[in-house]
C-alpha cells in the first residue's frame, strides 16, 4: 500500500492509511500542485500549501469512511473543493485557508442545503460522510 506520495515540497505523509480512495485523492492533490499561476487563464493562484496540508488532514480524518474517490478541484484562490457523488446525492466541501469548511449537500430531488463548520471540522465531515452513505 502506498504510504507516501513524493512531491517537490515535502512528502504527503499517508502512513497508516489503508483506504485506497484516500491515497488516490492525495495523488490528485499532488498533481494539482504542479499547476502554475494563471492555470485557469483568469489569474488563478497555484495550490496554497496550507490548503494542501489541510486537505491531507481532512482526507486522513475520513480514512475509515467507506467513500468513493472524490473529485479534487482546484479553485481560483489556490483553494480546494472535494466533491462526492453517491447514489444521486452530491456533497461539495470547500476547504478554506483558515482551516474551516463550507459545504453543500445536493439531495436526490435536487434540493440543496448549504452550511459551514468552523469548530470540530473532523466531526462535521464525518457527519456529512454518514449523510452521503445513508
Amino acid at each position: 500500500m502506498a504510504s507516501i506520495i513524493a512531491n517537490t515540497s515535502g512528502a504527503l505523509d499517508l502512513s497508516a492509511v489503508d483506504a485506497q480512495w484516500v491515497v488516490e485523492a492525495a495523488r490528485k492533490l499532488e498533481a494539482l500542485g504542479h499547476l502554475r499561476a494563471n492555470w485557469d487563464s483568469y489569474g488563478g493562484k497555484p495550490l496554497n500549501q496550507g490548503i494542501k496540508k489541510f486537505t491531507v488532514q481532512v482526507l486522513k480524518s475520513l480514512r475509515n469512511e467507506d467513500l468513493p474517490i472524490p473529485a479534487v478541484v482546484l479553485g481560483s484562490g489556490g483553494t480546494i473543493q472535494l466533491e462526492w457523488h453517491v447514489k444521486q446525492k452530491e456533497l461539495e466541501v470547500e476547504l478554506r485557508d483558515d482551516n474551516t469548511i463550507e459545504f453543500m449537500k445536493v439531495l436526490q430531488n435536487g434540493d440543496t442545503t448549504e452550511g459551514e463548520a468552523r469548530d470540530n471540522v473532523a466531526a462535521a465531515l464525518r457527519g456529512l460522510s454518514r449523510w452521503l452513505q445513508e
Binding site: T8, E30, H34, W39, S41, A71, E83, E92, T112, E114
Partner: protein, 187 residues
C-alpha cells in the same frame, strides 16, 4: 474599485466562460460527456470574468488556451441564479472583446445553478487528458517514494508522449473543423 450594475447586460445576452481541462475542474461521466465543476464559477476576488458572445468569437476566447473548453449561459440565467447578491458590469481595466465581470459573492448554491445552466459551446469541449503545464508534472505523477511496493522509476518518455498526443489531438480537431466548414465550389 467601484462597480455599477449595467442593466443592458441582461436577458438573452450570451456570455462565455473558459473551463480548464485539468482534472477535476472538468469531470467526465461514464458516457464520456464532460461536465464543468461548479467550483469553476467561483472567483478569488468575487469578480468572475466572462465575455459577451456577440463581441467576441469562440476561437478568440480559446486563442492561447489549448485544451480548454468553453461554456455559455445568458445574463438572465446569471441574474436568476445569483439574485441580488451580484452585479454585472463591463471590466473597466480590460473592456476588450466584451469582457464583463460578475461582481459579488456567488454562493455554493448559486454556483450549482450556474453549473446546471451552463452549456458547452459546440465543438469547444476541453481535452480529456491534457498534458500538465509543468515539464516535470507527468514524470512526478508516476514517481513514488523509495521503499514502496509499487514504486516506479521516473519515465522521461511520459511527458514527450503526452505532448505529442496533445498536439496530434489538436491537429485532428482543427482538421475536423476545416472539413466541416469546407463547401465544394459551385460549377
Amino acid at each position: 474599485m467601484d462597480r455599477h450594475d449595467d442593466p443592458a447586460i441582461d436577458g438573452e445576452v450570451l456570455l462565455y466562460r473558459r473551463i480548464p481541462p485539468w482534472p477535476d475542474n472538468t469531470q467526465w461521466d461514464a458516457q464520456g460527456k464532460p461536465k464543468p465543476s461548479a467550483f469553476n464559477f467561483k472567483d478569488k476576488d468575487d469578480e468572475l470574468s466572462v465575455h459577451i458572445a456577440a463581441e467576441t468569437t469562440p476561437d478568440k476566447m480559446l486563442l492561447g488556451h489549448p485544451d480548454f473548453g468553453l461554456v455559455q449561459f445568458t445574463a438572465r440565467q446569471i441574474r436568476e441564479c445569483c439574485g441580488n447578491s451580484v452585479i454585472i458590469c463591463r471590466c473597466p481595466d480590460d473592456p476588450t472583446d466584451g469582457h464583463v465581470l460578475i461582481c459579488g459573492k456567488i454562493t455554493g448554491g448559486a454556483r450549482k445553478k450556474i453549473q446546471q445552466a451552463a452549456r458547452w459551446v459546440e465543438d469547444k469541449y476541453p481535452t480529456r487528458h491534457p498534458t500538465f503545464p509543468a515539464d516535470t508534472a507527468a514524470n512526478d505523477r508516476n514517481e513514488m517514494s523509495p521503499g514502496m511496493g509499487d514504486a516506479k522509476a521516473p519515465n522521461p518518455n511520459v511527458n514527450i508522449v503526452g505532448k505529442i498526443t496533445s498536439v496530434l489531438r489538436r491537429g485532428l480537431k482543427n482538421l475536423t473543423g476545416w472539413f466541416r466548414a469546407w463547401k465544394p465550389p459551385n460549377n
